[in-house]
């Protein structure tokens, strides 16, 4: 019996968990900060049209984005109200699309360069003329896989 008593006396002190909250808070802040998803600041209005026959765009490293739409209210004075293209963080003209695609393609890994998809994030109010021009530019540089990015919804939402 004395054996047990001895042990009781030399009991290990409990592990100090006082720093546990700090560790957890650190993780928490990491997640809060790291989950900022959008990497481009939008300079155009971008209410996407609705569609329901859609496929997901997984694998973000294989996608490049082209935005288009009317300049948002902050930029209206400077750039007018005509629909424009946005590449990265700048407004661009149609002729710059090809160079953008080539630059994006060059920045990707070798094995992905042939499977890139161009996601066209275009405002619903845009005229097809601009989109046709973009498509022609994409064909010139052989970027043939495109995705008309939409939001989920019935087609009837597109018709006023």
């Amino acid at each position: 019996m004395s054996k047990f008593k001895k042990k009781k006396n030399s009991e290990l002190p409990a592990v100090n968990t006082a720093s546990l909250p700090d560790i957890v808070f650190m993780l928490l802040f990491f997640f809060m900060v790291a989950t900022v998803m959008r990497d481009n600041t939008l300079m155009v209005t971008n209410s996407l049209p609705a569609a329901n026959q859609i496929q997901k765009l997984d694998k973000k490293d294989r996608v490049m984005y082209i935005y288009a739409g009317k300049p948002s209210s902050r930029y209206k004075d400077k750039y007018g109200t005509q629909a424009r293209i946005q590449l990265n963080d700048k407004f661009a003209s149609v002729s710059e699309v090809a160079a953008f695609v080539l630059a994006e393609r060059a920045s990707k890994r070798q094995e992905l360069q042939n499977v890139l998809t161009t996601a066209l994030k275009i405002d619903g109010e845009t005229n097809m003329g601009l989109i046709t021009d973009i498509k022609q530019e994409l064909r010139k540089v052989n970027a043939l896989k495109i995705n008309y990015t939409t939001r989920v919804g019935e087609y009837s939402q597109n018709i006023d």
């Binding site: 968990t17 006082a18 546990l20 909250p21 957890v24 808070f25 993780l27 928490l28 997640f31 809060m32 989950t35 998803m37 049209p49 609705a50 569609a51 329901n52 026959q53 859609i54 496929q55 997901k56 765009l57 997984d58 694998k59 996608v63 998809t117 996601a119 066209l120 994030k121 275009i122 405002d123 619903g124 109010e125 845009t126 005229n127 097809m128 003329g129 989109i131 046709t132 498509k135 022609q136 994409l138 064909r139 010139k140 052989n142 043939l144 896989k145 495109i146 995705n147 008309y148 990015t149 939409t150 989920v152 087609y155 009837s156 597109n158 018709i159």
Partner: protein, 207 residues
């Protein structure tokens, strides 16, 4: 002095609160994935000798600058276009070698021979609104999907899936490779039965 040591605040539950927050953020941050209609553009270099396509195998859809639809030279409402496209694709009017064994259409000799030959040609004006264009695209893709779903169901009834669901499973990176391997040939067969021949016309050259 009557100063009493204030009792220390018990911080033991701090970790629990922090964990709760952490789990909340972990669960609620869905990494937003984009979705949309996938299309493949035709290559730039023009064919020197374009194949001759019979007029009856082409289903022409024109969206004009007032966002009105003209389907096979007749004005149409957007809600009717899905059914019209299905009737065209599923017509199966071909004879002998061009006969379509799985088509359930009217076998109208003035419409498409078989789904492999049927081409939908979508034309638009420069002033067409993108919204309406997408709505039309959506309905045309829906026509293909509806037919593919029907055939997928009747070919593989024990899977309990539609073509769209199977395709989604297949392209989902979380699905196991075994499942993908099983689905791949089935999807390919369906894609060959109703190939998506949807041509977005080139801009007309006349200015």
């Amino acid at each position: 002095m009557a100063r009493r040591a204030s009792p220390e605040v018990n911080a033991g539950s701090m970790a629990d609160i922090a964990f709760l927050l952490l789990i909340f953020f972990l669960v609620t941050t869905t990494i937003e994935t984009d979705s949309g209609i996938n299309r493949k553009l035709p290559p730039m270099d023009e064919l020197i000798d374009p194949p001759i396509i019979k007029e009856k195998n082409i289903f022409t859809v024109v969206v004009n600058k007032y966002n009105q639809l003209l389907v096979e030279e007749k004005p149409m409402n957007i809600s009717e276009i899905r059914q019209a496209a299905i009737e065209f694709l599923d017509n199966g009017g071909g004879k002998d070698a061009e006969e379509c064994s799985y088509c359930k259409g009217n076998k109208d000799p003035a419409s498409s021979d078989n789904p492999e030959k049927a081409i939908i040609s979508l034309k638009n004006d420069r002033e067409t609104s993108y919204k309406v264009y997408i709505a039309v695209q959506n309905e045309l893709v829906a026509a293909y999907n509806e037919l593919r779903n029907r055939e997928f169901r009747s070919l593989y009834p024990n899977l309990g899936l539609t073509f769209v669901e199977a395709n989604k499973r297949y392209s989902d990176p979380r699905s196991s490779s075994l499942e993908k391997k099983k689905l791949k040939p089935k999807i390919d067969i369906l894609k060959a039965m109703y190939p998506q021949k949807l041509s977005e016309a080139e801009p007309s050259k006349t200015k």
